[in-house]
Amino acid sequence: MSRLSDGSRFSFGADEFVFVELTEEMSLEQTLRVIAITTDLRGAAVTGVTDICPAHVSYMLRLDPLVIDPRQLVEHLEHAHDRCGQTSDLVIRSRLIELPVFYDDPWTRETVMRFRDRHQSSDLNDLEYCAAENGFSDVQGLIDAHSGAPFIATFIGFMPGNAESYQLVPRESQLQAPKYLRPRTDTPARALGHGGAFTTIYPVRGAGGFQLLGRSAVPVFDPHHRLDDFEAKIVLPRAGDIFKYRPIGMEEYWEIRAQVKEGRYRYTMHETSFDLAGFKADPRLHNQRLLEVLG
């Protein structure tokens, strides 16, 4: 097993990829360090490296092996890891984005009940199951917890638009849920799913294994740039983005859907920064200050 001097493990994905894992377990410190290291590597602009892909506690580089030997990259990795040391006082630039979510919506409710044979529970729906698993007496308790504190995007991947996000609460308050025993073959587009300690919004209709809690009224993937906020890109999320899920009901869901379909929806989005030390010192106060701008 090969390691960098700071203990991070690395391995070659044949001739085109280098995989680096800082730790095996999830922690925000490591996520922020991954963001810092991969940002540093992007700045280094090593010739032959085509893709720099941060994940929760690991990252990956893709390269053209006829331009650079993957083994030569190890030296660059050492330097980047050196420059971005083990520290808990990292501050990263971020965006705060509010996403309107219809929790306990009819579409995901209908979908999940079609797949009870692949699920841990034969009679509860996903929301009811997750509420019970996390010690809430009813689904509203889970919805309040999920929508009460923001999430930070810690892994952009799987498919375009997908952003696995981790809630900004202490570890002991994390909502956790197992993935389906066998993945569903169907998920509505924009469904809000939770698996392990991570939440995502499914960019398009398709297979999936996360527990479905609701449905976002707004897209995270817009291949045809129909909305102004997708002018430069086809996906909404970036690593380090902070999402606040705002519960909405049926009436507002349809109002927002109309705005999206007519191309006039604008995301509530603010430039901000995420300060890990501040968060760890007092999560509640930190989130309160972070969310002030949303009113």
């Binding site: 995989f19 999830m26 994940a55 092996p65 030997d69 498919m159 638009g161 993935k179």
Partner: protein, 326 residues
């Protein structure tokens, strides 16, 4: 212009792929058998970035409204031009209003149709390749359907001439066997497997199942055991689970230790299962021509061998492109 009659089973526009967006969750896509794709372009005198039509199992029927040069490579197919059998791996003259018809693919899984000038669908994020799962690129982000019309571009090699009869030396034409060796660089998270499982992976045969497409191939064979452990926080309880991480193109994963999944050029870019090794880039072409119930033997190789194979392949392709100008 090319008019699509019967679309074939799953025919998509592909080129050399769309690098640079993996971190956005966008896989490179591109021709699954890159060698066959590149050779088809060379035979018609195209530049290497030209797009071709990738045909799966059953190819399309294509009618040309004007003079064209085409070449068909890859999986051995019965192809007819207005009823006359057309040889593969050789450029062909097509006259206005002639129809190219695929009847069946005998060995291999994917054939490529290059037309001189390239298929001129709009370029998206630097590539004409189709990524169907997200509806990106190619012909409207989807496989060809009856009634589609495709424009022909102008990506020809300077100095090349439009002519038929340009062929590939027999010795360079790959054969697509029903039992293949696939070279793998062990690593990534294979420390999670037991020593016995690593031994089994490289010494027992795996069979291609019917769940095999551009995103990945599922293979059935001996189940692989993971070393028991207390799951790291955020990983999930199954022994094959890890905190979600990036999946290289070509990586092999074993959800719950039962079926192997090899990711190809339309890979999902990450997920929560331990990856246990990566198919070398050159052999992605080989697995792309396998179909159920073909048999795969995985052979462990070093990074050096993977790079050497890649360099050899590149020099062969360059030579083929130089030859067509002679």
């Amino acid at each position: 212009m090319i008019a699509v009659g019967a679309p074939g089973l799953f025919s998509t526009i592909q080129d050399r792929g769309r690098p640079g967006y993996y971190a956005m969750g966008v896989p490179p896509s591109g021709a699954l058998d890159s060698f066959a794709h590149e050779v088809s372009n060379a035979l018609v005198g195209n530049r290497r970035e030209a797009a071709t039509i990738e045909c799966t199992f059953a190819g399309p029927t294509l009618t040309f409204d004007e003079f064209a040069i085409v070449a068909i490579t890859g999986a051995a197919a019965e192809v007819y031009l207005d009823g006359m059998r057309v040889p593969m791996w050789m450029s062909q003259v097509v006259r206005a209003n002639q129809t190219l018809e695929f009847r069946r693919i005998a060995t291999g899984a994917r054939s490529y149709v290059a037309v001189r000038g390239g298929v001129a669908v709009p370029s998206l994020m630097g590539s004409r390749s189709t990524y169907v799962a997200s509806g990106l690129g190619g012909q409207k982000g989807r496989p060809l359907v009856a009634g589609d019309t495709l424009d022909v571009g102008d990506l020809v090699l300077p100095g090349s001439t439009p002519r038929g009869g340009v062929d590939l030396p027999e010795s360079l034409i790959p054969s697509y066997a029903d039992a293949v060796e696939i070279r793998v660089v062990p690593g990534l998270c294979d420390y999670r497997l037991t020593p016995q499982a690593i031994d089994d992976l490289y010494s027992t045969p795996y069979t291609v199942t019917t769940e095999a497409n551009r995103t990945g191939y599922r293979l059935a064979g001996k189940p692989l055991d993971f070393t028991p452990r207390t799951a790291p926080f955020g990983a999930g309880d199954d022994p094959s689970n890890v905190v979600n991480l990036g999946y290289p193109v070509g990586s092999i994963q074993v959800p719950s230790g039962t079926e192997l999944i090899c990711l190809l050029r339309d890979a999902v870019t990450g997920g929560g299962y331990a990856t246990v090794g990566t198919i070398i880039s050159v052999d992605l072409d080989v697995i792309a021509q396998a179909k159920s119930p073909d048999v795969v033997h995985f052979v462990p190789v070093s990074v050096d061998q993977a790079i050497a194979a890649r360099a050899d392949r590149e020099s062969v392709i360059r030579r083929i492109f130089e030859e067509v100008l002679c």
